[in-house]
Amino acid sequence: MTYESPLRRPLITGKTSYKQITDDIAGPVEAKPTKWWTYGFAVSFAALCLYLFSVGYLLFTGVGVWGLNKTVDWGWDITNFVFWVGIGHAGTLISAVLLLFRQKWRTAVNRSAEAMTIFAVVCAGMYPLLHAGRPWVIYWGLPLPNTFGSLWVNFNSPLLWDIFAISTYFSVSLVFWYVGLIPDIATIRDRATGLSKTIYGVLSFGWNGSAKAWSRFEVVSLILAGLSTPLVLSVHTIVSFDFATSVIPGWHTTIFPPYFVAGAIFSGFAMVLTLLIIARKAMRLEHLITLNHIDVMCKIIMVTGSIVGSAYITEFFIAWYSAVEYERYAFINRAFGPYWWAYWSMMTCNVITPQLFWSRKLRRNLLAVFIISIFVNIGMWFERFVIIVTSLHRDYLPSSWAMYSPTWVEISMFVGSFGLFFTLFFLFAKFLPVIAIAEVKTVVKTSSEEFIAETAKKDGIQVPIEVD
């Protein structure tokens, strides 16, 4: 026996049925690609080609083609690595943490957010791989038995912990995402004919929809959610250790781990909104990914943005409070030194813009949400740039001071990495169901507009009532 208050907002609007939901979600997979999909894919693929070209040039010529110098020896490479890892966090948060918090709205967005996680981690993983200069010997980064001479990994290094963290994160996210897909792929298989029936048949691992299969499916999902939850925290915590374990002022500060995690979720949700605002419109899924979904995601952006903002202010204050000359200078230099524009871009985009979401009107204005989500993406990129470059460029000795700017190789690799990301996302949106069909059906009997109206009638309550 369950009961859900009719005061809660609907998660499925309009009239709907189980059959209708299947048709709506499986439709785009079965239909021919639309004109807009083709254009979008073409642009993304062009950017991917730029990526491949610049990576090829990098590998043939050497890492020296980047703009790094003796003082700023980490630049766009690790900035973009952290940027992409961060983007990935929303997917895991939605699929694992929100599952634990029984947030039913996650059912409409978890699939695409998880897909985004995987693609973002692919983009991120390319940076350490390429930074090694010789990606074909990247396995030297793993603690393999010592058969290659005297090579051995440094277990004390957070960079090594990063390899473990990211590879675990990637594997678990991939498995979680794919396991969730199996029943939906089977649904597509059952509706398909010919070659696609065979392909989706193989991909569905012979799913037969029996009670036993569902029971196993539930158990596996729960175990994977349990494994993913600590991973959400651990991955960006260890990324933050890359900086915070050092003695560099501006890098070494104890608030880094939770603040990086909050920042990652912040940027991840911004990217989810950027993608879904377009996808729900293009694929006509507005009744399943409703304004109420957008509204709550905006609230998450506002909360995580405020956490990030309070971490910035704490850092700044404690730098002054510490009375350590170098700490104080690092932060003054951030705000008023030669990279002041990066710092103030970060502050504006990350601290001020999310505060606009206090307004309910703005949370429900798609154009405004879309623009703010882009601002947050930009701000979070600047955050990493500020932390990395401005903390390094003025070394302890003024004779070592240097400025850094990226070369065309770094720029085209970054632009190209969006090509990689969007190419993968377009392929996903065309060939796999973007919403978890089986999961979204579970909220029909609790949270659809029709069902809520029925409950309200029984309870004698007038709906809709706006509680928030």
Partner: protein, 405 residues
Amino acid sequence: MGHAHIPEIKAEKYVVPARLKTISYALIGLGLIALVAGYFMNHERGLASMLFNNFYFLGLSVAGIIFLALQAVTNAAWSVGFRRIPEAMTTFLPIAGVFMILFAVVAYFGHFYHWMHHGITDINSPEYDEIIAKKAGYLNFPFWIVRIIAAIGIWIIFATIIRKNSLLEDEVGGIAILKKNKTMSAMFIVFYAVTWAMFSWDTLMSIDPHWFSTIFWVYQFANIWVSGVSFIAIVVVLLRRAGYFHIINENHLHDLGKLIFAFSIFWTYIWLSQFLLIYYAHIPEETIYYVERFESYKPFFFLNLALNFISPFLLLMTRDAKRKENSLILVAAIVMFGHWHDLWLTVMPGAVGHEAHSGPFGLAELGGAAFFGGLFLLVVFNNLAKVNLVPVKHPYLKESLYHAI
């Protein structure tokens, strides 16, 4: 679950048992004697005890508002049945505030905080400390006491409004109050973040005035939050045993258990973030904090982790452990003691140096705990008894009756 019996909503009132009153008065009386005696035996230690014990119970009150605020902004229904407990917890705030001001005045005259010494910021004085002089813009008595009063004042205002609205709802019903409290709660969270950060720096971090850590306020939040949820869990279980709360079932306990479990891990995460980064970077002005605690307080350093991480992690791992009353309150009691102990470990090395090591849980500490603890119990349960135990007209109450996980 399928055929669970859904209880009827009935107005209930809690009656404070005479025994609880006697115990509270006895704790207050004996505690006061011990605290005062402890103070005259050693001023620093007496003051330190007054500070950390008052902080602990004030923290429980603040955790009460945080609980209400978080449930309000997330539209949570499961906790509605027992929301009068966190509401009652907040009523201790004014008393804790009075004692905090009393402490501040005595601390000022007794130079409890090293930065309060006369001449410490005066370059011509033999007491001159260059580092503290650089912080004098923030660490000076007038500004310090204004911040403390402002912080507690703001919490009292929000707690009073939220509780008053909630009590009014018992009479008028409807959703207007739900909405109003949601707005108040969102505002509280914003104010809380700022005031709590400063409050934890002012009262605790500045005991070691050269030391600094950006995560410190998050760590103190984790401390009081786990203790607060544990206190709620204990009271819910004990009231159920005393025949109240028919509307609370093991599903509600399960969620309280999950919160204790999850936030004990969160506490450990924050603990590790602070410890590991300081340990790894090995910068002397930062490591000093852990050197003191590791060298002179070694057993307690490890006991802290055993109480606050290993116990809840192992004992509350299973579903059953969270749903059974005995295991739930056992763990809740362990972590409540654990976080009290953690606070002791935060305050003592800076306040009295190695001294507390020889007789760790001395007269002053136990006296302080008894005094403030007795006062807290007396105030909280008296205020709980004055109002309806169940918020009968809360819009989400019906949903919370069906809560099943």
